[in-house]
Symmetry: C2
Subunit: 229 residues, 2 copies
DNA sequence: CTATTATTAGAGTATATACTCTAGTGAGTC
DNA sequence: GACTCACTAGAGTATATACTCTAATAATAG
């Protein structure tokens, strides 16, 4: 594997593990057992590394959120979108943690990320639209759909921060992809009132599969056996 | 004013303006025209300053979210809670920006914040409960109420980050308290399906007052005259 | 007035961080 | 064999950062 790619890979790994703020270019070089000079031969600076990683993240999510227009949407589609978005969030989880700082330090990234957000929101809106077309949810006025979509986005992008900050349990409470995906439960919660009678049961069952098994804010632990995952 | 208090005040101001990561203890001292030594006479380290600021934040929000149990809840109460929470968020806006890093660097803060979150969530749940008691919203099963409350919390705490990251417009697009409070529109969006017929119109009108006047993700600008604020 | 304590200035320090510079090495090309 | 060129090592640098130390000054109590 090319040194350049190794740098990107190691950086992502270290960023995800320790947080971008705690990972220096020297750390990255040391982790790869290459010299700092070598690293700076391949990248002008740390921002450049982060930017390239963002481009990968962007490509991944754009790929997942490509909504096929030639057929109606199914519940499996919805599941796929939700799972995929959380997969992406997990793989590049360092990114949202220091988002504001990162955007402040790199204008390119700021503008790209803005457009990325817009595309994601448009995709979510389109998903709602197609869910209505498929009679899975009741149709909504455009205003409401936009506001709902934004709420979905806010919940998705903040779910991980909630898990990491609200559940202290330092040593044991390691965050996993499974925990992260329990955010799907939260997203589906918002759709409940809009479900059509035909699909209500099925969506509720789907939602149940993602019910958090960590103590909720009441200190209660859900008993649901999270089978099949 | 005591030097100690001046340090806290200046720190908060600088943190909010530039972000905690971009503000050093030397900056704070320079801003107050005192020596670094003086600053370190009053505080053991930067974390201590942040911790004390958090305690103020906590006290403020706890004060706002004290739910009176001796009378039914009104719509004015709800408005007050929403406005207050966003006021608090605004006054200590640096805090949520670097939350994960801050909690990682200070165990006390981590534990205190965890409990703070729990109290906030409990308050939100209680508000939903009392809204149902007052026949403003339909009653919900406890499960749903908990999940809804968590979503409200996620939307509230992520709204500012959304504004700061999704709306690039560097120079002009200065973030203001008014913009921030448009998050109330998003929060009320989640309650729409649960409103009782009696209150539906009134809550929708309230919500309309907070309709964002910034371009939404479609590039459209809401026309609503945001009167009276 | 004296002794003590609280407060402050300001120079200084150890370490870290992002990044640079020079001197190569080794694989291919003519 | 001379030359090129992508790639790499590793020492080095300027700056920043969190924090310390000493000495001095103001405030206060007896």
């Amino acid at each position: 594997m090319k040194t350049r790619d190794k740098i990107l890979l190691s950086s992502l790994e270290l960023f995800n593990e320790r947080g971008e703020r705690n990972v220096t270019t020297n750390h990255i070089a040391a982790h790869l057992a290459i010299s700092p000079g070598n690293l700076y031969y391949h990248f002008r600076n740390k921002s450049d590394i982060i930017y390239e990683i963002f481009l990968e993240y962007e490509k991944l999510v754009d790929f997942y959120l490509d909504i096929p227009e030639n057929r109606p949407m199914t519940l499996d589609d919805l599941t796929f979108y939700l799972e995929s978005v959380f997969d992406g969030l997990w793989s590049y989880r360092f990114f949202h943690r220091d988002l504001e700082y990162l955007l402040d330090s790199d204008q390119r990234l700021r503008e790209d990320y803005r457009q990325f957000t817009e595309r994601c929101l448009a995709a979510i809106r389109r998903i709602f639209e197609k869910l209505a077309e498929a009679d899975i949810i009741h149709p909504q006025p455009e205003d409401l759909r936009s506001a709902m979509s934004l709420n979905v986005w806010l919940v998705i992008t903040n779910w991980m921060a909630y898990l990491k900050t609200a559940h202290g349990c330092e040593g044991e409470g390691e965050l996993t992809l499974t925990h992260l995906k329990q955010g799907i439960y939260q997203v589906l919660t918002m759709e409940i009132p809009y479900l059509t009678p035909d699909y209500r049961e099925r969506v509720m069952a789907l939602r149940e599969k993602y019910r958090p098994d960590i103590p909720d804010a009441n200190g209660r632990v859900a008993l649901a056996a999270n089978d099949g995952r």
